[in-house]
């Protein structure tokens, strides 16, 4: 590998120093043209899979949404916007939406804060056993949602769960981590937090290490303490990462499904739907009640909400980050 790289490197230097810059792109196009066919050939397997299993299903969802489409047979019946109207006055949908936002909020805010904190600790250049800490952080992330749900379901159990035992030991009363709405959201958010805090810490850490050291040095020469350095150097420098993670967190968080489903409530998300979420409701309608058309409408509503929140996230994130530089 290195034997190949060495002669070619010297050739690069030779070429780039001699060729005028404005001629370069023209030179590149000519040999590339011959490769049109190769480029298209290389992309085609991806493109076929992408069309068939990515794009077409998404477009078809929009089509299905206008039909009364029963999975059990019978011809699909065009019903115009009836599914959309039904959704608007569907209290289960609004409840699922509230639950989704609640779980999303309880899982995003502590997770981001914790991840930032851990990343700050790990970014210290004098830290020992760096690789060990980083590797440990990624372990929860390789665990399946199902395994996580099984463990936490037991930990949050009413009578014999470790958490309630600790609470009673402290002299308080048992908490119903399933029946109580807020408590169930906290339990579900805990699973999400546990699975993702380490991963997010690593992302923050990577971005922190890309911050030029000079910025911290000049800040401390100006008399900034650690907190001020964090607030006025780290945060603004992490701006793009924070925006990116907030958007990805929204996309993932608003689709939360497996955790509430596996938390023991089945498709309805608990006896009184106390932790039913948007995706869970989509699955309930489409695959439990066999109403494809209505499920499709839920999917579309979810997408619209996710796009709206992502745009909002982006604007707020930009605002926060630019405030920090002032």
């Amino acid at each position: 590998m290195s034997a190949q790289a060495v002669p070619s490197k010297s050739r690069i230097k030779f070429k780039s120093s001699n060729a005028p810059i404005d001629k370069k792109p023209r030179k590149k196009i000519a040999p590339m043209r011959r490769q049109d066919r190769w480029g298209m050939l290389f992309v085609s397997p991806f493109f076929i899979v992408f069309l068939a299993f990515g794009l077409i299903p998404i477009l078809f969802t929009t089509y299905v949404a206008f039909f009364n489409w029963d999975a059990l047979g019978g011809a699909p019946e065009y019903i115009g916007f009836a599914n959309f109207k039904e959704l608007w006055s569907d209290t289960y949908f609004w409840q699922a939406l509230r639950n989704t936002f609640s779980i999303w909020f309880i899982s995003t805010v502590p997770q981001m804060t914790l991840a930032l904190g851990i990343a700050t600790l790990l970014a210290n250049p004098n830290l020992r056993a760096k690789v060990f800490w980083r590797t440990v952080l990624l372990v929860p992330n390789i665990t399946s949602v199902l395994a996580v749900a099984i463990v936490f379901q037991q930990l949050f159990g009413y009578d014999f769960g470790m958490i309630n035992l600790a609470i009673t030991w402290l002299g308080y009363h048992h908490i119903d981590w399933v029946g109580n709405q807020l408590a169930s959201h906290i339990a579900i958010a805990t699973m999400i937090n546990w699975r993702w805090f380490g991963y997010n810490s690593l992302i923050f850490l990577a971005s922190m290490q890309a911050i030029p050291r000079e910025l911290y040095e000049s800040a401390s020469l100006d008399g900034a303490n650690r907190w001020q350095q964090f607030r006025y150097v780290t945060i603004p420098q992490l701006r793009n990462t924070i925006i990116f993670m907030m958007i990805m967190g929204t996309i993932g968080g608003l689709q939360v499904f497996a955790e509430p489903m596996l938390y023991g409530g089945g498709m309805t998300g608990g006896d009184s739907r106390q932790f039913s979420t948007l995706t869970l409701y989509l699955f309930e309608q489409a695959f439990f009640n066999q109403r494809y058309g209505y499920g499709a409408v839920i999917g579309i509503a979810m997408t619209v909400i996710i796009i709206a929140i992502s745009v909002l996230n982006y604007l707020i994130g930009r605002r926060i980050a630019t405030d920090g530089t002032k």
């Binding site: 690069i12 992408f50 299993f53 299903p57 078809f60 004098n126 952080l137 990624l138 992302i203 996710i306």
Partner: protein, 303 residues
């Protein structure tokens, strides 16, 4: 070496700060240089939190179903783990599901690496009609919720008669927008155009360039992509649950889920199943954890 260097630089700074600032700041400086024990305590707690659920799976499973309702609960592993394992084997064809999952995950990982690197190469280094809008389109759909297309996907699988067939798991996952985008970024960043041009002038064919230049350079990033695909397939739960019906075709996750539905909730049995489904990944992680960490962190800087 770099650590020593930066600490000596900071000493200079400290000297200045001590002379100009008050005593409180100088104490803070010194603490930062030496790393406060608080850092290690916090990281220790973090390690405990990360590892505890695995330990707990094993503890509950190995103490058996009867011990579960004991107060206080046993915090140490018991002796019943072999019994728990045979209970899992009795309830579901676990080895079969392990084999299924392994085969499906390996096929997907290999194909992801191959097709993503080809398409990534084309997107990064070749010109062809429609390239630009295709790329924008691909990135755009990555932002959409993956559940949006799940209903038509299921309908398609029924139409194709792929329900309860491994094709339903493998073919839609052969190559993904994420993989292509990842490889595009890697190839774009790591391979200079001049190198390709030089190879072309020397008369290398496109396949020769792919094999002799692209593959050796991006090998480790491609390996990480393969690992990600493998892990994602191993842990995927919803889609296999929807499309695979007969027990001998279950993936590990679906099989473990079956433990939950076929009995009154038996925590010890469930935890045994969860531990058995996770253990292979933990073993794998011992060998590849470092590279995964590097992959995640590299991806973060590029993204």
């Amino acid at each position: 070496m770099s650590g020593k260097h930066s600490s000596s630089r900071r000493d200079e700074k400290n000297a200045e700060i001590v002379s100009t600032d008050n005593a409180v700041t100088s104490v803070k400086r010194r603490r930062r240089r030496k790393i406060s024990p608080f850092t290690y305590v916090a990281l220790g707690v973090m390690t405990f939190i990360s590892a505890f659920p695995f330990y707990w799976m094993f503890v509950v499973a190995s103490n058996g179903s009867d011990e579960i309702s004991k107060i206080p609960p046993s915090l140490k592993p018991g002796t019943h783990f072999p019994q728990m394992m045979s209970a899992v084997y009795e309830a579901v064809p676990f080895n079969r599901s392990l084999l299924n999952t392994f085969m499906v995950a390996i096929i997907i990982a290999v194909s992801q690496v191959f097709f993503s690197s080809l398409a990534g190469f084309a997107f990064a280094k070749m010109e062809f009609p429609g390239k630009k809008w295709m790329l924008i389109f691909v990135v755009g759909t990555m932002m959409l919720p993956s559940q949006l297309g799940v209903i038509p996907m299921y309908m398609m699988m029924s139409k194709l008669n792929w329900i309860d067939n491994f094709k339903a798991l493998i073919i839609p996952a052969l190559v993904s927008a994420f993989g292509v985008f990842w490889m595009r970024q890697v190839i774009d960043a790591q391979i200079p155009n001049e190198l390709l041009e030089a190879a072309r002038i020397d008369g290398a064919s496109v396949f020769r360039i792919y094999r002799s230049i692209i593959v050796p350079v991006v090998r480790s990033s491609a390996f990480v992509l393969g690992l990600f695909s493998f892990l994602a397939t191993w842990n995927d739960f919803l889609w296999p649950l929807l499309v695979m019906n007969s027990p001998e075709k279950f993936t590990v996750q679906v099989a473990i889920n079956q433990l939950q539905s076929s009995y009154v909730i038996d925590y010890a049995l469930n935890m045994g199943g969860a531990f058995m489904a996770t253990a292979p990944l933990l073993v794998l992680f011992i060998f590849v954890g470092k590279r995964l960490v590097a992959g995640v962190m590299d991806g973060a800087v590029k993204g």
